[in-house]
């Protein structure tokens, strides 16, 4: 019986890890006895993805940012303000964008078998950055993702790329005054104290793909493959659990002096307008394939709206 190591970069505690460990367990448990599976922490997602593609690891839960290195289309899914709502994102991914992504990943020897939630990225600041006017020319930490860089440039900030290890001392000493982070990561880091304002811009929707090395996947019979697919939780299910897990974290955060800023309709519009004009150009930078995928998603969004 083969032991499949299923990789993830999720830190050892928190909802992300719970989800990924559950996914790793399901893959072995529902293979009809064909394989067993164990969760394997791998610090770098890019490294993990390479090991899955080359067969050292058999599968993994890999975010869109890491997948974009081999499939540029995955990066399109991180375009700031791509989605109008979570419901829209879930429907388009499940029905249209996901199946297409699966075809693209198959060309790279990877089989997409499911999804995992990642939560929304919001704006973090020493001061409350309620509108783009608040961040003009301010130094803000951008993640290595081109989408993060694009977002901060589009709203007029001065984006600073820092490795994650230097972010906290940079916030403390004033190299940067803000950043963009998903909530679950933010609240458990020193950023929650150093930059205690969390502004709900909801500008990027994060999720991951559960991918398996195609050669390994094809060694399972059809019944086992179907059984695994049927038993993996849906993105909708995991998103709901994610949101539930954030609620008590938010209460603790507020009780220790943190502030969560909900935006008015007008404020939201200001962020959206600053970014949306540049979306097409941002996607174009990733190449023709990315543009085609972007247009494909826009069509799917229209279909969702028409439903």
């Amino acid at each position: 019986q083969d032991n499949w190591r299923i990789a993830s970069a999720a830190p050892a505690t928190g909802i992300l890890r719970e989800h990924h460990e559950r996914i790793a367990a399901i893959i072995g448990a529902k293979s009809n006895g064909a394989v067993i599976s164990t969760f394997q922490y791998v610090g770098g997602e890019g490294e993990a993805l390479q090991q899955i593609a080359r067969g050292r690891l058999k599968g993994g839960v890999i975010s869109m940012i890491a997948l974009a290195a081999v499939t540029p289309e995955a990066g399109v899914l991180l375009t700031p303000y791509l989605w109008a709502s979570e419901a829209e994102a879930e429907w388009v991914i499940a029905e249209k964008a996901g199946p297409r992504l699966a075809e693209l990943l198959a060309e790279k020897g990877l089989t997409l078998v499911g999804y995992a939630a990642g939560g929304w990225t919001n704006v973090v600041g020493k001061e409350p950055f309620l509108t783009p006017a608040n961040v003009i020319n301010r130094k803000i930490r951008a993640s290595p993702a081109p989408a993060s860089q694009f977002f901060w440039s589009a709203v007029g900030a001065n984006p600073v790329q820092l490795p994650i290890g230097e972010v906290f001392s940079a916030l403390e000493l004033g190299v940067v005054e803000g950043a963009d982070m998903p909530f679950t990561f933010y609240v458990s880091s020193p950023a929650a104290v150093l930059a205690p304002n969390y502004v709900l811009t909801r500008h990027a929707y994060n999720f991951s793909a559960v991918v398996v090395n195609s050669k390994a996947w094809n060694s399972l019979n059809t019944a086992a493959q179907q059984n695994i697919r049927d038993n993996l939780p849906t993105l909708h299910q995991l998103n709901e659990e994610f949101a539930q897990a954030e609620t008590p974290l938010a209460e603790t955060f507020k009780s220790t002096g943190g502030k969560i800023w909900d935006l008015s309709k007008e404020q939201k519009a200001l962020w959206f307008d600053a970014v949306s004009a540049g979306q097409a150009a941002f996607v174009a930078k990733a190449g023709e394939a990315a543009v085609a995928y972007y247009n494909f998603i826009q069509k799917a969004r229209a279909e969702f709206a028409a439903r």
Partner: protein, 421 residues
């Protein structure tokens, strides 16, 4: 059986005077094939991902800047100033070195970076002021580890993301063991160097040294000032120190001719080139151990022997010393922290206090051979044999063990800065 083959290969190649990097590459490659159900290709992949890391960026910069400063005259002039100030105190320059490392540790989160940044200036200074090679080497290697106890600390960040312990709390708590370690290093310096010849204080010499060394003094001023005022990060500071050193040596001191730069660059690259393959091979071995579940199995097996607090401490600390010796500390913490933190909680340890025990212990891993990055880098940069460096850190390992013992026995040391001592 295969183990004997591996040992035999290692011994045979060593007798044939093959260098360690190539010998280990073959041995670890064979471990991939024989034990890890993997192939040589993954050794090469591990090679790539070892160098494909931002955390290593400052290494070539500080090495290059260091070689320039010692070939030119920045180092010598700075040394003259420090000698003029500390000369009258026995062990004065040693104390100054410790304090400089503590100061740098308060902005740098890494161990080898701290050693390099301070060592490139202070090591030649200590030697030329008559301190023993052994003491100077040992101090640089062990003092560098202050970088991960005094906050900020990359190990604390990794511990925090691997467990539920607040990184912020650890950043506060780290000052307790950190300052204890500073005090211990100062005490040892005074004890050991009480008979180092002193020079009487001369205002005239100090003034002259200052006038002569103004550009050299500006170097740490710019670096520390720039970092503390939020203009650049430690990684960026490494490039700035290089740029500054080049400009001063070429345009102001002019002790260094432009056509020497190429040779100095090549020398620095050779230094880096002998360090990286060793890190890569060690990293590959770590990955194998991790994927085979060895650390998990060892912790599970040994935790059966634990029935009390002192047994827990004995098991946890022995395992961590072993892990520190065999692994890089970042991997060790990510693997062991989530396994051990629940044990600590179960036996009534405050989570932050327990975290400090783990981190102060793993600090030893930077200087306990064989996989000790500070020693490997020191071998190359301070031009010493591995045996000499290992011997030089022995007394300092004892000091660090004492600090570890104090950290274990006195929880208040870690907790007082949190307001719950």
């Amino acid at each position: 059986m295969n183990v004997f083959v591996l040992v035999a290969i290692f011994v045979a190649l060593t007798i044939l005077r093959v260098n360690v990097a190539i010998t280990l590459a073959l041995v670890v490659g064979l471990i991939h094939v024989w034990y890890a159900d993997s192939s040589f290709e993954f050794l090469l992949q591990d090679f790539w991902f070892t160098v494909d890391r931002e955390v290593l960026l400052s290494l070539p910069m500080f090495i290059f800047a260091g070689v320039i400063m010692s070939r030119g005259s920045i180092a010598a002039r700075l040394v003259r100033v420090m000698k003029a100030i500390t000369g009258p105190v026995p062990g004065g320059l040693g104390i100054a070195a410790v304090l400089t490392m503590a100061l740098f540790s308060a902005i740098s989160g890494a161990s080898v970076v701290t050693m390099m940044a301070v060592g490139t200036l202070m090591f030649p200074a200590l030697i030329s002021a008559g301190y023993s090679r052994s003491y100077s080497l040992g101090l640089m290697c062990s003092g560098g580890t202050l970088g991960v106890i005094i906050p900020p600390s990359i190990l604390m960040v990794l511990y925090g993301v691997s467990t539920e312990v607040s990184i912020t709390d650890m950043f506060k708590a780290g000052w307790g063991p950190g300052l204890t370690m500073v005090a211990a290093l100062c005490a040892y310096t005074l004890l050991l160097n009480s008979r180092t010849p002193t020079t009487p204080f001369s205002g005239k010499e100090l003034l002259q040294a200052l006038r002569d060394g103004i550009w050299s003094i500006m170097m740490p001023v710019i670096l520390l000032g720039g970092i503390y005022s939020g203009h650049f990060t430690v990684t960026e500071a490494s490039a700035i120190s290089l740029g500054y050193a080049l400009i001063i040596e070429l345009l102001i001191h002019r002790d260094l001719k432009p056509h020497y730069i190429r040779g100095i660059a090549t020398e620095s690259i050779s230094l880096i080139g002998s360090i990286l393959p060793l890190l890569a091979v060690a990293g590959s071995l770590n990955t194998i151990l991790d994927y085979q579940g060895v650390p998990q199995a060892v912790v599970a097996w040994s935790s059966q022997a634990i029935h009390s607090q002192w047994q827990l401490m004995l098991v946890v600390n022995s395992l961590l010393v072993l892990a520190g010796a065999l692994m890089d500390e970042g991997s060790a913490i990510v693997i062991f922290a989530p396994l051990m933190a629940p044990l600590g909680a179960a036996y009534g340890y405050d989570p932050v206090h327990f975290a400090m025990i783990v981190i102060v212990n793993l600090q030893l891993g930077y200087v306990v051979p064989p996989v000790a990055i500070n020693l490997i880098v020191a071998t190359v940069v301070f031009k010493a044999s591995f045996a000499e460096v290992c011997k030089s850190v022995l007394p300092f390992i004892v000091i660090m063990l004492v600090v570890l013992l104090i950290t274990i026995m006195v929880p208040q040391l870690s907790l007082v800065f949190l307001g719950r001592g």
